[in-house]
Amino acid sequence: MRKITDDDLTLLFYGEHDDPALATTVAESRELSERFDSLSAELRLADNFVPPHREDDYGADVWRRISPRLGDDRAETSGRLKSWLATFSQPRFSLAGALSISLVAMLAFMLGRNGGPESIGTSMAPVNQNAIALAGIDSSRLLTHSVSGHLEQVDLMLTQFVNSTETSSRDSGFATDMLVANRLYRQAAASQGNHKLAAFLADLEPLLIELAYQAQSGSPATRERMQLEVRDGMLFRVRVMNKRLDKPQISV
């Protein structure tokens, strides 16, 4: 019989030895048993290599951090296009909603074209500059005022979401409208050079995407986790950002 090495005992300890009779051999030999016990005791001490504790919501925290970095690349593109088409073809996307989105789009377009570095030299800029100037509106103030109204709507939607027990397609439709508006405002803010506001709206976007689509596909467990995430994170951030925004009175 060949000599039993410490490597054999290591394999036995980890349940990886090829020879099923080895355990019996070790048990029957006092010398081998002592060697095995000694190896076991030493290796069990490795169990003291304990990582720091992480809270239950650590996974949600990881998601919050990585989701803005995942980007919109990969197979999502075609799926998103289909989803957008589906969104606009659904009855829940009401005429009022469509009109309000159109107004947001027009406003965001004007704001984006007006005042930002990119607008210099464009053919549209003078027209919109004149239009806004005629209306006596400061485009920067108009943007913050508009985004403030948008964030109030988002705040309302998130508050309803964290306090409700089920999601209706109406909620999902509302989230989709908010998502559309959010993207337009983000682009407008970026065009105006308000990068802080644009970054905040970019952070908000993944959540709105999830709220827009989770109603159809999310499990109750997913919903609970999202509620926790919204309650502990984004809802607070939305309120803080809204407070920070200047809310000037706009004379018409």
Binding site: Y14, A23, P51, P52, R54, A60, R74, A75
Partner: protein
Amino acid sequence: MRRTAVYTSEMTLSEQKIIRKAAKGDRLAFRELVLENSHAMFRLAWRLTSDEGAAEDVVQEAFIKAWRNLRKFRMESSFKSWLHRITVNTAMDYLRKQARRKQFETAEPEFESITAGSETPAIDTQIDIRARTRAAMMKLSDTERSALLLKHFEGHSIKEIAQIMEMTTGACKQTIFRAVKKMRVELRPLVTT
């Protein structure tokens, strides 16, 4: 004999469904995977780096890499093994960068200062045992530590570890044997007291 969680290539149908959806670009499905695996990945990353902040960074980077490469994942292997492979590679990259950085630094790492002059260590507390175990672990080479951790804490088979670490089964076995020998030398004084 030690029995820990053992990963096999078997996945539940529901897990397969979520992975397939995520691979097609479904962020919500990928979020499920993140929520499901974050704690385990943090534990592995921390044991590889022995640094809380680094471990958090490694977890995030690993998930981003997983998202970008999910389409390449084949269902015949274990998803957890696949995630562990990404985590180990990401942690290794981090450790290599750290090693390069430390060449220009004079400060000794924490785990080395603990063991300095500790031929006959006095063990007073559980904290001390933990610190010394940690020091012993961090004295292993990155490859030895990775292989041992995947065996001892994650319960992977040697064959799986070899796949994760992209080495032959024989080389993997020898790496684990080396790591065990080194650990025993470091930990033996703690057992006898």
